[in-house]
């Protein structure tokens, strides 16, 4: 039985992370920013699982549990911020919140 090469798993994780990062940079809707962050966190967890599976140890899975907890806490705070943002600006465009930007 063939073992899945470490490089292929890491390549998939890098691809997913890159796609999430591109989404974070390109989209201006704050919901998409949060979703892209979720994709990137999941890709990081995938890298941990791939590495843990390569050596057959449970350590990678424990690191994934930490990432899972962090993603859950992050999305709870992030969505509360989205609700607050929408209540204040009546939009989901992140460019609406530009009061910290230097006026040119």
């Amino acid at each position: 039985m063939a073992i899945i090469p470490l490089e292929h798993g890491l390549l998939l994780a890098a691809t997913l992370f890159g796609l999430g990062f591109a989404g974070l940079l390109v989209r201006r809707n704050i919901m998409y920013a949060l979703m892209s962050v979720e994709i990137m966190l999941n890709a990081a967890g995938l890298a941990f699982i791939v590495a843990g599976s390569r050596w057959g140890q449970p350590d990678g899975q424990i690191m994934f549990l930490v990432i899972l907890t962090m993603a859950a806490a992050e999305v709870a705070v992030g969505l509360a911020l989205v609700l607050r943002f929408y209540r204040q600006y009546q939009t989901l465009d992140v460019d609406a919140a530009d009061r910290l930007r230097e006026q040119t």
Binding site: L19, M35, V66, A73
Partner: protein, 174 residues
């Protein structure tokens, strides 16, 4: 034989395609559908890589709980007179046909895997939930404490930010 790893590569392709679709859709609900598909395919990859416990957690917590939070917020922010119209649009086939095809591929993979033929599984060693639990409550017990502290901080933070203040200064609506 390289065909043994077919499951991994098919699920990886489904994950990539659905993530690509998720970040390019214009409607947030369409993106959510594709994103659930991508999380489920990553869950299948975890199973193939020999981490069944994490695969179950990925499907339950990520694709279940976290995505439901997203759906709640999107539905909360979408109350307008045109809400019924958008409801009708979301039920049209072109919304759900793409994610359904991708999820169908995953379903076929899972059905074949659940037949239990070990020749289809790759040679990665399966790390049982038992081993993970022993490590988690042995050398990594501090991780549990940190995770519970993080969840408590997230809970308090979300409650504090999300509560409705009676006299909110309306300085932001300029």
């Amino acid at each position: 034989m390289p065909t043994m790893n077919l499951f991994f590569y098919v699920a990886a392709g489904v994950a990539t395609v659905s993530v690509l679709a998720a970040i390019t859709r214009l409607n947030a609900v369409h993106s959510l559908l594709y994103m659930v598909t991508s999380l489920l395919s990553v869950s299948l990859i975890f199973f193939v890589l020999g981490a069944p416990y994490i695969a179950a957690l990925q499907a339950i917590v990520y694709a279940g709980a976290i995505m439901v939070l997203f759906v709640f917020v999107i539905m909360m922010l979408n109350q307008g007179p045109q809400a019924a119209e958008t409801e009708r649009l979301w039920l049209s086939p072109k919304t759900w046909v793409g994610p359904s095809i991708l999820a169908g591929i995953l379903l076929v993979e899972m059905a074949v895997l659940l037949r239990g033929d070990p020749a289809w599984l790759p040679g990665n060693r399966i790390v049982e939930p038992r081993e993970v639990s022993f490590a988690l409550f042995g050398p990594y017990v501090l991780v549990i404490e940190l995770a519970s502290l993080l969840l408590l901080a997230g809970l308090i933070g979300a409650y504090h930010i999300g509560r409705r203040e009676p006299n909110l200064p309306s300085s932001g609506a300029d």
